[in-house]
Symmetry: C2
Subunit: 423 residues, 2 copies
């Protein structure tokens, strides 16, 4: 690779709002998205909420001359909704499905049925290894009383861990997607602190688009204005995040968003705004040697966010245990009722009523049993994330105790330290 | 690191058969296992089927002076059963839960409730990065008519992919566990061909233990002789697999197994035999430069095993689709019945019978609906594995078409090649 190596990477990311039968003007929007992507000829287009595989196949066919490589990430019952189109050939593909993703009985929210995931593509571009991730986290339906907060924190942690463990030999890491997290939300900070990823919107000097980089704006005709009432400018929940590892330096030259309408005609491409970033990767970076104070500050930030996440997961675990216990008791009561009903049937007496009660009682036992099992599994999942987090927290604290001189930035990118997990 | 660097690694692996209330002499066996591990002082003890967290906590306490680092991998409803004890501090921990793991309605097999997984520990030993993996795949209950074959192949693929993507910066990779796969089974070959891992039993020159390295032997009093009838010597389903990446060379100096009894007293530690390996990692290896012919042969083997796995996953997908369709029809019939019953209730006539039929009909709709959703998700999981496999297969074929001279061993360890995924 030449010492004056420079690579320009044009990236497109959009939550396409492609729910069959429910999303308005879906076919038309998918068609226009295809036309736009063909015209713009990005290096990578990372899409979310392409729930229908037919839509993906339609786009694949339409885009194949411009984007010869494509992949649809299948998971859950409905799918992950994630897919990618690439101008460059894809070297490797894998995905990780989040352990926790809402509740099956919240049918009207539907996230549980989707199998939310993170997809990974490895690309080799002019000798540079690029790990590109695309993801979509659990939606936030009520910011004041968010029952999915612990799940979203656990997802952000799993996402950060997946990136951390799979990108160790990558030169450049890119993450695009709908995180369903505001920039200062716990999950977003956790992800950024643990992976060291930078936010294109905050880093670029050339931004054009919606105010404050919002990706759901009230000007978009598909957005419910009522839901956005507390945020007059909109919300920023879709991101382009990146970092360069090893011998490279990456910067965001330009970042654009759509502004509530199609770049060409009036109707928007989705209820979310699209992100379009031009990234520049260079060799022999103007390396900023992290000063010991800088390292200590970063470590301190990481420790603080890890602590916060630990508390949130702990709260989530208590709730999961509470529900499991409650469902356990209901199952027990149901079983007692069942015995009683069977005894009544056998003994005669109020036989008709007993027979009528038999089926609902069986239903109660099975239903409550299923809820019990689900929340047991939820508690295990949260406990797993908490234990991993606890391990990292312990090592970060140990590094802090050793003083700033010993290890400048030991917890971002290349991990050093020494501590035994004793969870 | 010195050029004459050499590291000896003593590793212990055992499926502990620790099912609360069901496994015989569990408490006594766990106690004796603790004593044995303390006495032998291995570098790493990787255990499977420690289903009770109390057993893990007991061992942790007992082993903490010898093995200061420990971790229990939580997942699913019951857990993964995996845990690890290490003499050296653990730098990083993560895990991957297999997407497919049997059927929830096969309650008496129970695998679905366990959340089978692979756990990863990153250790830094004298400057060497060791990725140690521990796993336990879905059990094989009927070798002649194995309804879980596609799931086990998908698990082997996910395991191989997880190792492949998370070990890129590791110097040494170690995998221990109960794969529930015979050495020539498709899953085992797929795992070895895709990751490049070597089998300690086949590699070592100093093996002591059961005949043919079997890890379930008829001499073990906890093993059902009837189940082992087709295999008079026993079966080999537990493994120590390893490879060295980059600048290192690894070999297995000695491998021992228990032989149906405790190393000291008469009663065995488990229904499986324990594996004890002494591995030696050296710097500046006597590198065997892979000849082009050797590379081509490896590629050809990989292509053949990928094809076989693809066919198996495809068969599994067809079956999953068949069950989903069947359950879909049953749900439809149930819904029709429900409408009929409601009409009867509303219209009078055979009201009593209609009321009695109402609950079972609702049960039928809900039950069949759940089966439908489960098999839809199964089909998605198998389809995902098949698509990833197809991508690798395409690249392997492309590399083969380019001829042996161009890329000697492009598909093991460091991946090169060029092909677009068009699934």
């Amino acid at each position: 690779m030449k010492p004056n190596f420079s690579l320009r990477l044009r990236v497109f990311s959009l939550n396409c709002w492609g729910i069959p039968y429910l999303s308005k003007h879906r076919a038309d929007r998918v068609k226009r998205l295809g036309d736009f992507l063909n015209m713009e000829s990005f290096d990578l287009a990372l899409l979310q909420e392409v729930w229908s595989e037919q839509d993906f196949q339609y786009l694949r066919q339409k885009l194949s001359p411009t984007y010869p490589a494509a992949h649809y990430f299948r998971s859950g019952i409905i799918g992950s909704g994630l897919c990618v189109f690439s101008k460059h050939s894809i070297q490797e593909i894998t995905q990780h499905i989040y352990t926790l993703n809402g509740y099956p009985y919240m049918i009207y929210h539907g996230d549980w049925f989707c199998g939310k995931a993170v997809g990974l593509l490895v690309l080799h571009l002019s000798g540079l290894v690029l790990n590109a991730y695309v993801t979509h986290l659990h939606a936030e339906y009520n910011r004041q009383k968010d029952i999915y907060l612990a799940h979203r924190v656990a997802q952000a942690w799993e996402l950060a861990q997946f990136i951390h463990h799979t990108s160790k030999k990558a030169d450049v890491v890119l993450l695009c997607g709908d995180l369903n997290l505001h920039p200062k939300d716990l999950g977003c900070r956790l992800l950024k602190e643990w992976t060291g990823l930078h936010d294109a919107y905050l880093e670029t000097r050339d931004f054009k688009g919606s105010e404050e980089g919002c990706t759901m704006v009230p000007e978009n005709c598909y957005v419910s204005r009522q839901e956005l009432e507390p945020f007059p400018l909109g919300i920023r929940i879709d991101y382009v995040l990146y970092k360069a590892v090893s011998r490279f330096y990456i910067s965001c030259k330009t970042l654009k968003t759509t502004i509530g309408r199609d770049p060409h005609s009036g109707t928007p491409l989705s209820d979310h705004e699209a992100l379009m970033a031009t990234l520049c990767v260079r060799h022999s970076p103007p390396q900023q040697d992290a000063s010991p104070t800088h390292g200590a500050a970063e470590r301190s930030l990481l420790i603080s966010v890890l602590r916060e996440a630990w508390t949130e997961l702990d709260l989530g675990m208590s709730q999961a245990h509470w529900w499991a216990t409650f469902a356990g008791y209901v199952t027990g009561v149901g079983l007692l009722l069942l015995v009683l009903v069977c005894a009544l049937v056998a003994g005669g007496g109020v036989r008709e009523i007993a027979i009528m009660l038999w089926a609902p009682t069986v239903g109660l036992v099975l239903g409550a049993g299923a809820v019990y099992l689900f929340h047991m599994q939820e508690a295990k999942g949260l406990c797993r994330a908490r234990a991993e987090l606890h391990h990292v927290l312990g090592r970060a604290r140990d590094a802090q105790d050793l003083g700033p001189e010993s290890q400048p930035v030991p917890l971002l990118g290349q991990q050093e330290g020494d501590r035994a997990e004793e969870q």
